[in-house]
Amino acid sequence: MLGKVIGRLQWTVLGAVAAACHNPPQDIRIGVLVEATGPRRETSGLSTLQAARLAEQQANASGGILVGGIPHRVRIILRDIGDQADLATSQARDLLNRDSVVALVGPQFSRDAIPVASLAQQAQVPMISPMSTHPQTTSGKPYVFRIAFTDDLQGRALARFARETLHARRAALLYDVALDYSRNLSEVFRAEFIARGGTVVADQQFTSDRAVDFTAQLTRIRAAHPDVIFSPNFTSADSLQVIQARRLGLESVFVGSDSWNLESLHAVPEVEGAYYAVQWRADIATVEADSFVVRYRQEYGSTPDATAAATWDAFQIIFAAIRRAGSLAPDSIRRAIAATEGFRGITGVVTYRNGGDPPKSVYIMRFVNGRGVFQQRVDP
């Protein structure tokens, strides 16, 4: 019995010492899952990285974030997920279990965001995927939020635009079947286009491991004589597809999605006249957006894109939630994020009244003389 008492005492003392050593000074650790290497670095990773760094700098330059009256430094922990689905989950688990982050930002792509969202939900740590549009990312996961509009919204908006504004009757689909994003968006477009009296005349798929030559798919599409080709893919594929299509003499109008990267597509003359959707444009900026654009340009010498803007917004929503929660407990932060109402972000107003999907507007643009020109706004 005495041995037990001595043993207990020893452990109690050890525990107390460990707790005392562990207490101060606590940073606000936020994990960021970013495509820092691989093909998505230029189209998404870099913007995510820069916006995250800027948000961290800005928060710390103004003295950190007050939690319970004490200023805390923000520390973002960046993890590269490259272009590998299993890497995203590994890195997410690493951030959650070993780095003990209080919130996650990213991943930007639905393929990665969906499994990571499951892990965040399981670990009960709030996560905001700024750009993921797939419904499954947030569906049934109260800990997961997004900044972007959903594929349902985007797909329907683009189908309606193609059918009613462009007066297209025949549509062809060309998409990366291995990507949840492209596949799901195509499904939504198909359903809406048909519902509005159109016909889908071709359904051509590919997978990214052989996404270099689309001649076979394009030839089949040419045979179907579509008015529009819906191509919700990522830049490398899109530019090749448009170039190859024009080379085959296919004159149908291309309709892209928010995954189209304008920076790289500007250089491709064949995309002239193509339509696409954006989450946000620097030239329709609000007061909030203006100062962000200026600061971003000062820091990096380039104009922020939608990914950067949405990432910035994700951080500001998390910061505001931490201030309101007055706590670094992930559960309190989640509750504060869920209570976000009328947050005036760069990409528009964010409200999470109905879960993690904020109602957002879809902007439809067109390439005219190598520049994106605003065509239509579709509100939720």
């Binding site: 019995m1 207990r8 050890l14 890497l87 279990n97 491991d209």
Partner: protein
Amino acid sequence: MTNRFTRVARSLTGRLVFTFLGVSAAIVLMVAIVAYRQARSALKEQVLERLKTIADSREQQLNRWVDGQRLEVRFLAGLPRLRDQLPELLGERGPKAQEDTRRGLTSYFKRTQSQKGDLSEIFVLSVPGGRVLTSTDSSRIGDYRVTDTYYVQGQHGTFVQNVYPSAARPEGTPTLTISTPLADSQGSVRAVLAAHLNLTEIDSIFTDRSGLGVTGESYLADRFHVFVSATHFGRPDYPRGVGTFGVIRAADAHESGAATYLDYRGVAVLGVYRWLAKRDLVLIVEMDAQEAFAPASRLLRSMIYAGILSELALTALVLGAARRIARPVVAIAGTADRVAAGDFTAVAPVETRDEVGRLAVAFNKMTRRLSRVYEDQQVHAAALEHSQRLLQEIIDSSNAFIVVTDLQGVIVLANRPFTELVGEQVQGVVGRPVLEVFPLVDPVRRATAISEANATGRPVVSEESFDIRGVWRTVLLSRVLLRESDGSAYACCTIATDITKLKQSEEERRVFAEQLQHTQKLESLGVLAGGIAHDFNNLLTSILGHANLVLEELPQGSHSGADVARIVQAAQRAAEMTNQMLAYAGRGNFVTARVDVNALVSQMSQLLQVSMSKKVELRYDMAPGLPAIAGDPSQIQQVVMNLITNAAEAIGDQVGTITLRTGLIQVENGPRPPSTGAESLPGGDYVRLVVADTGTGMDAATVAKIFEPFFTTKFTGRGLGLAAVQGIMRSHHGTLTVDSTPDQGTTFTILLPAVAGPAPAEEPVRIAGPARRGAGTVLIVDDEEPIRSFARRALERAGYRVLAAPDGVEAMDLFRAHGADIGVVLLDLTMPIMDGREVLGRLRAIDPGVRIVLSSGFSEHDLAARGEAGDERFLQKPYLLGALLETVQAVMDR
């Protein structure tokens, strides 16, 4: 109960027993703890060694198992059936063939899976595209795994993807996947065969508890701290993995080792942790510390029980021994208690021959000696008490206050007068510091006096005053040091005699003498001035009267007329001087009226303005509603004029301001600080008049002299100015004070007692009617011939018949002779032989209705003071022709 225990614990026996028990208990405890710790440490080594052996075997088993699964997958991939059916599976022979093949393969894979049970999913992925062509989990068919590592690596050779959280499973299950390429008959890779190992099912390896006791367990965790074993996996208690010491050391630092730490339940364990780098897994083997150290605890327990038993036995032994040793000591202690209580007959028993026995013998000797000393001491004490009582009675009988203190100031003796003074009993003050009992003593003076007494060897006498309950008392303090035979001081005796009354009567005598002297001075001055004035006034009456007569008789514009007018002027100035002299002596012509000082000043304002330089600004600051004062308006006017003139002259040709301020002040009864020229005033309301100038001011020496008669700073001064003002003030029971600073200016303040009620309205000035021709007889009684002749001529010229008598006797004769004709008697009051008052009495005796005008060179006020003034009209000498005629006519008309 507690008290009894305390008593026992404090007794000699008790202390002996408790000390012995305490020491032996401490030794037993120490031995027990050392033994326990050694046993524990040995057990720890032993248990950890055992756990390490178990960990080794578990690691080997795991590796063997994974290698076995790798071979299994390769075996499956090498099946000719699979290679041959690849084109069908890839859909190259049409969808139906594909579906059939898929179905066939699936059921084959499922059979394999159920036989082995170690693979959770077997599936085939297309190259390119990474599409799931067939799988034991049919829900996965059609999925794309194009970017998964096992797909990418599996195209090039057999690949084991170490434990990772599966993206395909919602809970991110830790998964270990083995993949291998599937080539067609031409040898080109067309697909990848992959299998997820059922990690949660490897518990068969880990649930083997042999060598782990009751509480021991072994389990796996992945590098993210997540439980892998099925018994633990997915526990909602650990949503972010288990961060125990062992898991963290192994997973984060990639270390292997053994330690005692808290496990995931928070229970202390002995644990062996191991990082399996080959599989990215953490292997943990743990056993509860309580179980591991149970033998040590048992050892400790039995040692303590044994210790307690032997302690009890020892207690009995020690108690007996202690009692035997302590008994004689206790007996001596009992005897000592009796001696201490005063019983010197008590004898301690001598029981042994050791140290205790010697102690008893010595004690008994000591008691006998003590007894003798005590008896002697009693005799001495009685004598001492008697002499002390005697001393106390002697000093109590003294009127002086007597206090004796030691050198530290603590009272050793005090007499009754002193204790009554401080309101205490004698017993109450002895032993207390004198400065505390009588805090009024100045400690510094006292110390100085004592050190002086010490130095000189003589008593030091000083006079000090104390405020005793609101009354100042002066005492004569005599301090003397009392000395031993060797001359060193041991006490200080203070004898204080109250000399308050003595001092008071001394002071009273001094003040009285001073006042008397002052009064006498004034009195004699007054008498002198009055006498001179009387004679002067008689002379001046004659001079003025005759000069007047001459003036009237001389023709207009004659040279002699101007000369006579100068005589009149000079005589009038002499009369003025006489008045001032009287005023200084406090005997000026005194008319008592209620005077409003404000009104009086207002009436004078024009006069004041013209009497000074244009550069001087005269400011008035008058308090409204002032009470009146009782006094002579003309004298008050003279005072104001005098002060203003002085002020104007002090300013001279410079630019300056004179402020004339009035106000009311209340003077309280009691002594006030002395001020220049001011006597002490009785309490009451006073009207204050202040004249302040911004002139040259005066130094203190000048101020001291300004009230002296004939002192002047002015070249043209007449010398009686301020002396006269002071006299007027004195006669009005007022004061005059001055406050002056050189180069800043001078302020004169006069205070006059206020009288009740407001000042009277100004009486309309009665304008005398034109002089009429007189009719009737006037009897002039005056010892001065020139006056008689002047009066006679004046009255006769006015038409009166005049009789004149040089003294009272003749006057009485004349009155008796002409009584019926005489309308008015002009009677001088100061005459030799029979003075005016007596004449008046006799005249009244003859004719009570006789009309009389009294006349004198003394003032009416002076006469009133002597009781000589009556209802009669009074004509102050020197009088002028007009005044004489007007008075006589007025009385005649009555």
